[in-house]
Symmetry: C2
Subunit: 134 residues, 2 copies
């Protein structure tokens, strides 16, 4: 039951990122692919970590922030005493995310207004203009 592995170019194609980016993530300690001689072999766990990193990026997290969120899952970090701090961290991050959602909703409604203005203006123009390229 050998674990399925991926090459670096497979992952780069799948995620639409360069191999440089993937190696950079390793260089920064975000992933730890196996080695077969020289070449890197990525487990599905590595793949998931990359996916989560990219998700973090989409919502404006730095790489470091993404890692800090991902590592919350690591059972090794459960130093009992640290758990309290961890909970606090979670709370903070949740608050930031809720703020983000509110910001996004505000921006979405802004876009809605803009869109209405546009479509109205377009309608008016359509009544006046005959051919677009005269």
């Amino acid at each position: 039951m050998a674990e399925k592995t991926h090459t670096i170019s497979e992952l780069s194609r799948e995620f639409g990122i360069t191999t440089r980016t993937i190696r950079y993530y390793e260089e920064k300690g975000l992933i730890h692919p196996r080695r077969e001689g020289q070449t890197r072999l990525y487990s599905t766990a590595d793949r998931v970590r990359i996916k989560l990193i990219l998700r973090g990026k989409r919502i404006g997290m730095t790489l470091e922030e993404s890692v800090s969120v991902i590592d919350l899952y690591d059972p090794n970090n459960n130093n009992a005493t640290q758990l309290q701090a961890l909970v606090a961290t979670v709370q903070e991050r949740r608050a930031a995310l809720l703020q983000q959602k509110a910001d996004i909703d505000d921006t979405l409604s802004s876009l809605g207004e803009v869109e209405q203005l546009c479509s109205r203006a377009l309608q008016e123009n359509l009544l006046v203009i005959d051919s677009p390229d005269s």
Copy 2:
């Protein structure tokens, strides 16, 4: 009915950013404060633009992206022909924002799981440990 104006330090305090940041925004053409001799005077319109820029930053937009959203409101950009492109832009940005919301919801539920794991672990420990610093 003189428009209410603000000094640079007022705004920096209000928004929790440095004066350097505000001047940088001007340098990049994001705002255009009036001048009273040497010193800058900010209108409420300037203030709003800064507010929107900071909102954009919170959801991971670059300054340029924020400006492009803000400028959608500018009636000067309504070059009739450009309106179609504008609508398309709005659609794209909306899609990105919806993706972001989904990403945030995913992250939020991740945090929820982490939190549960933590509180359970903490409860178990409370049954075993007497004094925290022995």
